[in-house]
Structures are given as structure tokens and as C-alpha cells.
Subunit: 353 residues, 2 copies
């Protein structure tokens, strides 16, 4: 089959060296540049593996899956695995293949959920292109997701296999919870702010943070870190994932669709109460009526949310969570990779896509 | 949550003892009755495990899954695993749990594909009740299928885990192939009979026979059989699965919906060319026009297919495949379980549901 792989760009890795150079740390900048070069080579391997999945694609499920994989994602989950694998003595030649498989698996699980989510949410656009379900149909998108899930699991060995199965289970339950809440906005808007935040965190932990937790734990396991270190890095991954979700929420509100590759306000359209909306509901309780109404323009709701400055508050919360998570990151021994995570976590707060 | 588990009936096991008694083999009948009692206890364990899956169901994905699992299926896949596990020296106390997990996993994979298939085929009824997607929605049915897939995989250890992942991959590709062919009846009806049969077999092997192959191989592995014996039993399982599919096709044509629990002619409605339809197309080539037309009543097509006596021919083919497969079954050492498979394979040809 013919695919058009778009060259992989990596703003995160570029930022790594830039930031250290700007911080007047030329030595660190040098070491991070070396690390970035290594990671770049690892990521190229991931990219090759992801593209190879569609090489013999003669069925519509694989083609639907390949349609998504061939678009350039941020590959943030793969990066997290690859970087975490360098938190110890660094992966040996054999471990490098193992690490790449884990990085590929993390991206595949993520892609599988996107294929299913697009059907569930009736999403039209993904990564700057029509969603697979638009090109190949809902059914192909469901089967394509199933296919990628199987391909992901084939790349993971025990004991990490049990962990990733547990994570996929969490992702499904979180999606189901979100589904129920979206269908019942009347009840949800009547809840207390604390109840709403709790439900939000349950969904975000399952949908986003659990896989980040896995990425960190998987990498740290390959790196040969101790059990307490792996646990701490798992917690760091979870916090990173939650912060990542908050920034995603902000981008849905005020991101540039050309840069994000997603249509703007799609969470709002789908009745998902993002973190900025939760904050706006606290600051402007009458917003609840607008959210429940059926004939209000999305832009009007978005404007009203923006007026509460909920986006800035959300970014602040994400920044606080990232800083709190540093204590867990620092359970790992000092290394360029650890420093890279520090930079990555903080730089991620101001990402535009 | 409250479920209404309908008491499990087992026509297959009852038939086992009946048939041997009728065949004037009281000794064998006695041994098969003992075997049936053991299997009955194993199957009760499977049933308990399947029901327990929904015990803490507070999400819509699990509820959708439980809706399907609580209905009494034939549990033919679980039976195949349990019986195959007794083809050797019989499972020890520890192996019994392992065997049950494998039997449960096989039923869960099957149930997962039913939940996804109902969404893909827009099926309304399943196991004599409204399909999960009707009760809980398409989305819950997709997520419920994902959930059961994860639960299945958690129960399987290497090296069988690789096998079941491969089987799930085959099932997905077969479903995708069927999907493409259903969407293009014009091209399909223009194919030669040989081409159509080949495509049918590819789909049936993937959708049905691959999982039966796994059931036999998994059980035979637990039973401690040799590699060539396991391979032979896998081939027997595949033949059993193909014959099973042919009988299913016949039931779609002339089964009693009250007994099958499925609406009649649903394959025809969904544009699936079943084996009887392929035979009818050979015997009555003008049927192709009717199949492609949009405004012809299903009953009219079904009547025309029936007039070619395609159902009887299909049952004959299934019987031939079963008899041919006996050579593979007989690679296993003689045992009551082997005799039970013989009876089961032949009795299965005349099943009504």
C-alpha cells in the first residue's frame, strides 16, 4: 500500500537543548544534545516500526489503522518510554529492541483508543486529516482499533503485559464513565464543584494518565531501576499525564486548529466538561444553563468560558502538579535523562499542539 | 448489579451419554456419563467466572458485556477447551484452574467479537434477547467488547498468549474481509464459484475456526500432549469450527428463531453470502440478480435458496469435513474425552441452535 509518511519533527527534543543553552548551561546543553541525538535515533526506529505495520495492508482494518499511524503524532508516549529507559545505566544492545517494542506498544494503544474514540465521539478530524472513520467507515475504524490493540499486546512481555492490560482496562472504564456523564449534563452540572473535579480526575487518570504511568514504569523497568524507584516514576508519569490532559483541555478552548490538527471546541461540542469549563462553572454558575441548552452556539459558550480566565488557571494548576511531581522524578538517580524529563515536563506546559 | 442468570442447560453433554447408550455401548455410556458429570462441574466453574465478571459493574461497558454474558450461550468453545484438557492424563488440581481460565478466555473472546459484530452489523437480537447495543448503545457495546478482550487476555499465559493474540488478529482480518465483500455484492456475485468458496473459507477460518483451533490446542497443551498431537488437534478444531459455521449458516436459513435466539435470515439481510447461498448461486445463477436488487423481500430470496436444496447439501459438506477431521482427532491417545469429541462433532451437525 502507499502511505505518505510526513517527516517526523520533534519540538520537544529541540527544546531540550535550546532551554539548557538559554539557561547558560553549555555542558548540560551538550549532554542533552547528545541525548536528543540518541533519542532521535530511537524515535526513528519507532517510526519505522509503526509504518511497517501497514506494509502488507490488504484489509480495511489495517488500512484504517495505518491511515492514523502515518500521520505525525507527537509520539510523546514513545518519547517517555525511551527516555525513562535511560534513567538507569541505559539500555544495552538487546534491551534497545525491547525498549523500542515497548515504545511502539504505548503509541499503538494510544492510536487504538483514538480509532475507537473517533467512532464514539463521531470525530471528523484527527492529526490534521479526516479521521479514519470518515475515510474508511466506522466499522473499519473499530476493527482497526482492535487490530492495533492486538499488535500492541504482541510487543509486551510479562510482567509488563499484566500492567498494560490493567491500563487498557482503566482506559475503557474511564471512557465508559465519561460517556455516562456526557449523556447526563443536567445531573452533572447540578453536582458540587468537588464532585465534578473528582469525576474529572477519575476520567483523566484512566483515559490519559494511566498510559503515561505505564510508559514511565516500562522504561524504568528496562533501565533496571529498583521497585521503589519504578513506583515513584510511575507516579511522576501519572502526574505528567494529568498535566498533559489539562494542557490539552486548554488547547481545545484556545488552540489554533492549524497547529493542533484538531477542530477547535471539539470537547465542548461533545459535551465533555474539561477542566477550564469546570473552573468557569465555579466562577460563573449561570454557565450551567448555557451548557444544557441545545441551541446555543459553541463560540458563545467558549467566549463565556474564556471570560472567566479559566485557561490561565488551568495552566497554573498543571504547572503546580508538574512541580509537585518533581519529588517523584528525583527518586531516580541524577542523569541527563532525568534532567530531560524535568525540561520536558515544564516545556510541555506551554506546548501549542 | 442484578443479573438474571438463566440455568445452564447442556444438550451436548446430555447427548453424549444418550448416544452411547443408544449405540448399545453401556460401558462407554457409563464412562461418558462420568465424563459429562466432570465437565458439568468444570462448566459450572466457567459459568461462575463469567458471571463474576459483572459483579462490581458500575460502568456502562461492563454492564453491556454482562448483558451478553448472562444470557445462556452454547458455551461450545469452553466445552472444547475443557474436553481437550482431558485428552491426556487429565488436568491435575492446579491445572484445573488454568484450564478453567483458558475456557473462560475462549468464551470471552467470542463474546467480545459478538459485541463488536452487533455494532458492525447493526444486529438487534442476540441469544434470544435485545442485543447489548440496543439496551446500552453502540458505544457501550464497543467498549464492552474491548473490556472483554482485556479480561480474556488477562487469563492466558505465554506461550498460549501469543497464539490467542494471533487468533484475535485473524478474527479481525476476517471480519474486515467480510465487510469489504458485503459492500461489493456486484463484484462478488460475478466471481467464479471457486473464488467465492475460497473467500468464504478465508472468512470462516478467521471468524470461527481459528478460535476453535485455539480451544483444542490450549486444552491439548494443558493435557500434556506432544507437539505433533497438539498440531493435529488444532487441525481437528479448525475443521470442527468450519463445520460449525456451515451448520450456523443452515440455521440462519431454516432455523427456528425461538430456538436459535437469533432473528431468521439475518445473514441474508446483512449481505453475507453463506455457504447455502453460494451453493444456490451455482444451482440457480439468476439468483445473483435477486441478491443485488434492493427491493426484493428476504423471504423471497430465502425461498429461492431453499428450493435449490442448498441446506441439505451444506449439512452433507459439514458431515464430510467432520469425518475427514477424525484422522486428526485420532492422533490423540484413546480416552473417554476423545470419544466424547467424536460424538460431539457428529451430534453438532444436527443441532438446532
Amino acid at each position: 500500500m502507499t502511505v505518505d509518511p510526513i517527516p517526523h519533527q520533534d519540538p520537544v527534543l529541540d527544546a531540550l537543548a535550546d532551554t539548557s543553552a538559554r539557561a547558560g548551561l553549555p555542558d548540560l546543553a551538550q549532554r542533552l544534545t547528545e541525548l536528543a541525538a540518541l533519542l532521535q535515533s530511537d524515535l526513528a526506529g519507532v517510526e519505522t516500526a509503526l509504518t511497517a505495520l501497514g506494509d502488507s495492508a490488504d484489509d480495511v482494518a489495517t488500512r484504517a489503522a495505518q491511515h492514523l499511524l502515518a500521520r505525525p503524532g507527537k509520539r510523546i508516549r514513545a518519547t517517555a518510554v525511551l527516555l525513562a529507559a535511560r534513567l538507569g545505566k541505559g539500555p544495552g544492545p538487546g534491551d534497545r529492541e525491547l525498549t523500542r517494542d515497548l515504545a511502539v506498544a504505548a503509541e499503538l494503544v494510544h492510536a487504538a483508543t483514538l480509532l475507537h474514540d473517533d467512532v464514539i465521539d463521531l470525530g471528523d478530524e484527527r492529526r490534521g486529516a479526516p479521521a479514519a472513520r470518515i475515510v474508511y467507515g466506522n466499522t473499519a475504524s473499530i476493527l482497526g482499533g482492535d487490530h492495533l490493540l492486538v499488535e500492541a499486546l504482541r510487543r509486551v512481555r510479562p510482567p509488563l503485559l499484566d500492567e498494560i492490560l490493567g491500563v487498557i482496562g482503566e482506559m475503557i472504564r474511564a471512557e465508559a464513565l465519561q460517556l455516562v456523564r456526557r449523556a447526563d449534563l443536567g445531573r452533572v452540572t447540578a453536582e458540587s464543584p468537588a464532585q465534578r473535579s473528582e469525576a474529572y480526575l477519575t476520567v483523566a487518570r484512566g483515559k490519559t494518565a494511566a498510559l503515561f504511568r505505564f510508559c514511565l514504569r516500562a522504561g524504568a523497568t528496562v533501565a533496571g531501576l529498583s521497585r521503589p524507584e519504578i513506583d515513584a516514576l510511575g507516579r511522576f508519569g501519572e502526574a505528567l499525564g494529568l498535566a498533559f490532559q489539562l494542557v490539552d483541555d486548554v488547547l481545545d478552548l484556545e488552540g489554533d486548529p492549524v497547529v493542533t490538527g484538531k477542530s477547535v471546541h471539539s470537547d465542548l461540542r461533545e459535551g465533555k466538561l474539561t477542566w477550564p469549563v469546570l473552573i468557569a462553572l465555579e466562577r460563573d454558575p449561570k454557565l450551567a444553563e448555557l451548557l444544557k441548552a441545545e441551541d446555543v452556539a459553541l463560540d458563545a459558550i467558549a467566549d463565556r468560558v474564556k471570560r472567566t480566565e479559566a485557561a490561565a488557571a488551568t495552566r497554573e494548576t498543571a504547572a503546580i502538579w508538574v512541580e509537585q511531581a518533581m519529588a517523584d522524578l528525583f527518586q531516580a538517580p541524577p542523569s541527563p535523562a532525568r534532567r530531560a524529563f524535568e525540561v520536558l515536563a515544564r516545556e510541555g506546559l506551554s506546548r501549542k499542539r
